[in-house]
Amino acid sequence: MPIRLTLPVEVTVVETKASLHYERMREDVAKLLTELKQGHTLLSVFSSAPVASAVSTKLKRDGLLDGSGSLTAKSDAFIANPRLAQDEEGIFSFEYCFLPDDGLGMSFVPQVMRKLSTEKAEKSRVEPAVAIEGVEFGIDATEKGYMVSINVEGNQTAYLLHEQKNRVVFNLSQGTYEYKGKRLCMGDKFHDILFKFAVEKSKELFPYCVLTEDMSVVVLNLEDFDTRSLMNGVTTLSAAPVELIDIPLLIKSEAVASKYVFLWLYERLMAGNYYSLEEMEELVQNEIATSPIIDASLRDFVSTIEVNRNAFKRNLPPEKYSKLDYRLRVMEEYLGLETMKNTSFSRCKNYSELAAAIANEVSPSEVTRLHLVMGYPFVKTRNNRILDSIDALKAYYPSMTVVFKKWRDRPNQEEDPTLRTMVSQKGVSIKDKEGLIDDFHDRYLVFDLRNGGHQVLLCTCEIGQIFKPHSSETKGNLFPVNNAEVVKSGKSLIDMIKE
């Protein structure tokens, strides 16, 4: 997900006698200090008293060892950020890059040579600019350093060798820039300046969104984004000098979130999927509210969005709604009908009662394994109480498997890895079955029986979400299904979960 700035620069090559202060990355020194911290001595590391002594002197001079040869506070900081200050005096050839763009007007030095140019150009006196601190630069052909300062000594004169115009590409997501074939770090200060510049520029260039500090794009208006970007949750926007490539989208307002929910459902429905209104609300809770495109502050809001035809009409553009209207009325008319009211399962108030009711339907003594075939077993929502359901069911059915019905080509949800681990730690095996959801819309409890047969209960929602949030009321139900019914295009669910 690169954020790139391509900026014009005016390159000025200056030659002068100067003192150059910079920092050099010394991971070898950091490694040595780490070894000393682990109890090694300089003598044991170098096996030579003169070498150990010389190194000791150098480290003490740099403040990395105290007088007694122990590590200092500075040495700890150095291990974390192993930059060693370097001072050099001499004749240098500096390449200053000036950023003339509005609001910037500053210079950085990407390249220093420790010798004068052989160019026979006419020289003129010049006052060197101030180079931004912390920017990595190249020294001669192979070395690199982080700029601290350049001081033109005493009454020395700096000469301008030549000027030229160039373009430099800054990768703000990586904090690097490219100069003469080298990839160099921008340093925090320069990065901050350029990132703020990019944000400001983006406001002008892409007025329908906001580039945030954590490098997301906040969506202000859905219509300005193509559907594919919105569904994938990433976008690419480009207008000189800013390029935002595969940047995560973020929705931070309730109005946009509402529109996004119904656009997302529209896309799913137009692809030939059918859901009851209740199931659409379940999708909203499990797939949209948990999606990274929805800002964390809006998750509760999105989870409570009610799905009905009027809400579609309010939130979708009219031309989209008119395409969907007939489908919606079909789903409204034919799906989600409460045909199995008031069963022994729907009357349960908690998972203990539910597990007991299930055990009453399918005798635990006859069962060798229970497979929970679910679509959102590990979804990261507060409503997901799969652990409670597993605890209750394990009292009756010790051998259990969670079968996760995964889409073939997209994630179902934001998965909570902790939840997956915790389920696993309860001795429940987990099977991810890609493509199962393509054929089987519903959720099932499949029981392996001692006699080699199987018994199937259909669950109208996730077992971990069968009770309404903060309530002892069931929102879903269970009922037995004939084994011959759980077959799609000649493929049996029972066979598929055992593959």
Partner: protein
């Protein structure tokens, strides 16, 4: 000669039906569907409804307020686009429902039978809708919906099969007995429960059904039977009493009996003509029983008249090959005799014998004399040199060239059999004698010149 026999049929006919004029007050598909305010659900795996619906109810299909969901056969689904359908929610199933169903607004169910009959289902529309809806979401592979074709992606078993409570569920054996298949274009026979023989009626149904106190119940959900309003009117035939009803009880009635539609007559006359060989007319006794058994009619009294006539020559007979052979033999003899006269023969009496042969009037005798002549010849030297073998004898049997005198009749063949067409009936005796004398067997018929 006319021969006559009369049969009287007073026996019970056994199993059969009296056909009725059909009540034609059934509403049309469009009349039923136009009541819808929210939805029309159609189950039509047997093509009872959809043709009429598409022809007559385009307005309902295109009404933005009413959704139309149809469960049809794969063949019907494939043809929807070609019929210009570009809306509605149609899915195809391999399941077979033996009647058509129209459910209006999920609450009023209509049953559609053969011959365009549509009757309201008295009760249980809720569970019938659930049944249709269950099939729609769980037993379908392809859809043509909102003008697009695609495979059905997911089975949605949460749309459950209802547990029938309104639909009466009597013992299946009893229902099997009550519903008996008869030829498909006649629908099925339905009877009062447990009273099959006496109360059977025929209805244009393709599903299991029974009647109870003149109320019709048809199977819609497997093993669940629902009452059809005015279902009794569907009957197009009811059985007559198989043990007692005789033709006398059914005179002038249209009946369905032994696979045929018939009208029972009081008196039926059957006239037939039989041709027999000349001479057998008087003694010929027609097989009246066989004629009676083959008749296509049921009647109280059946009079069978058989005109027995002699067989007469027609174009189907050919002249006997004897005539041709006879002619060839005659030519051979004539030519042989003429050659003999010119030969130098040792026996000088031959000339006299040639004359004898030539003058013999009886053909068979002429042949015999000729054979005798040529086989006993003594040839002179010159004749022996060149001509000895020029006079073969005639070896054909007599039966192959005998023919009757033209005043007696003509010898004919048809197939491999011989017929002697007599010049008139008076030649009967003579003809028989000639056949005996000639050693031939032939059926005697009359020449068409008579």
């Amino acid at each position: 000669m006319r021969k006559t026999r009369t049969y009287q049929n007073d026996s019970p006919l056994g199993y059969g039906f009296i056909l009725k004029d059909q009540n034609t007050t059934s509403p049309s598909v469009c009349e039923v569907c136009s009541k819808a305010e929210t939805s029309v659900t159609i189950v039509d795996t047997g093509d009872y409804i959809l043709g009429s619906f598409l022809n007559e109810c385009a307005g309902i299909l295109n009404d933005k307020k009413v959704v139309v969901a149809g469960l049809v056969s794969k063949k019907t689904l494939a043809g929807l686009k070609g019929r210009g359908v570009n809306t509605g929610f149609f899915r195809a199933t391999n399941e077979t429902v033996g009647l058509g169903l129209i459910i209006i607004d999920k609450k009023e169910a209509w049953a559609c039978f053969g011959k365009g009959r549509i009757n309201k289902i008295a009760a249980g529309s809720d569970e019938i809708f659930q049944f249709a809806n269950h099939l729609l979401w769980t037993k379908t592979d392809n859809e043509y919906s909102f003008g697009e074709s695609r495979e059905v992606q997911q089975t949605m078993l949460s749309v459950v099969m209802p547990v029938p409570s309104v639909g009466a569920k009597a013992g299946s054996t009893q229902h099997d007995f009550a519903t008996v298949g008869i030829p498909s274009n006649k629908g099925i026979i339905v009877s009062e429960l447990g009273n099959y023989e006496q109360t059977a009626i025929a209805m244009p149904l393709d599903c299991r059904a029974y009647v109870d106190q003149r109320r019709l119940f048809v199977e819609i959900i497997p093993d669940a039977f629902y009452e059809i309003e005015n279902g009794w009117d569907l009957q197009y035939a009811n059985s007559f009493d198989p043990e007692h009803a005789s033709p006398k009880d059914l005179v002038w009635k249209n009946i369905f009996y032994k696979g045929k539609n018939l009208q029972v007559l009081d008196v039926e006359t059957i006239n037939e003509t039989v041709y027999v060989p000349v001479g057998e007319v008087d003694g010929y006794e027609p097989d009246f029983d066989s004629i009676y058994a083959k008749r296509n009619q049921i009647s109280v009294r059946t009079e069978i008249n058989v005109d027995v006539l002699p067989m007469v020559r027609d174009g189907s007979y050919q002249l006997s090959p004897n005539y041709k052979i006879r002619k060839q033999i005659a030519e051979q003899i004539q030519s042989g005799l003429e050659k003999l006269e010119k030969l130098d023969l040792d026996d000088k009496g031959v000339a006299k014998r040639i004359k004898t042969v030539q003058s013999e009037p009886v053909f068979e005798e002429k042949v015999r004399l000729y054979n005798e002549l040529v086989s006993g010849l003594d040839y002179g030297v010159d004749a022996l040199k060149n001509k000895k073998n020029s006079f073969p004898t005639i070896n054909q049997s007599k039966e192959s060239f005998v023919v009757p005198h033209e005043l007696l009749g003509t010898l004919l063949v048809k197939g491999k059999a011989n017929y002697l067409a007599l010049a008139d009936e008076g030649k009967l005796k003579e003809g028989k004698a000639w056949l005996k004398e000639s050693g031939l067997e032939a059926t005697l018929i009359l020449d068409s010149k008579q």
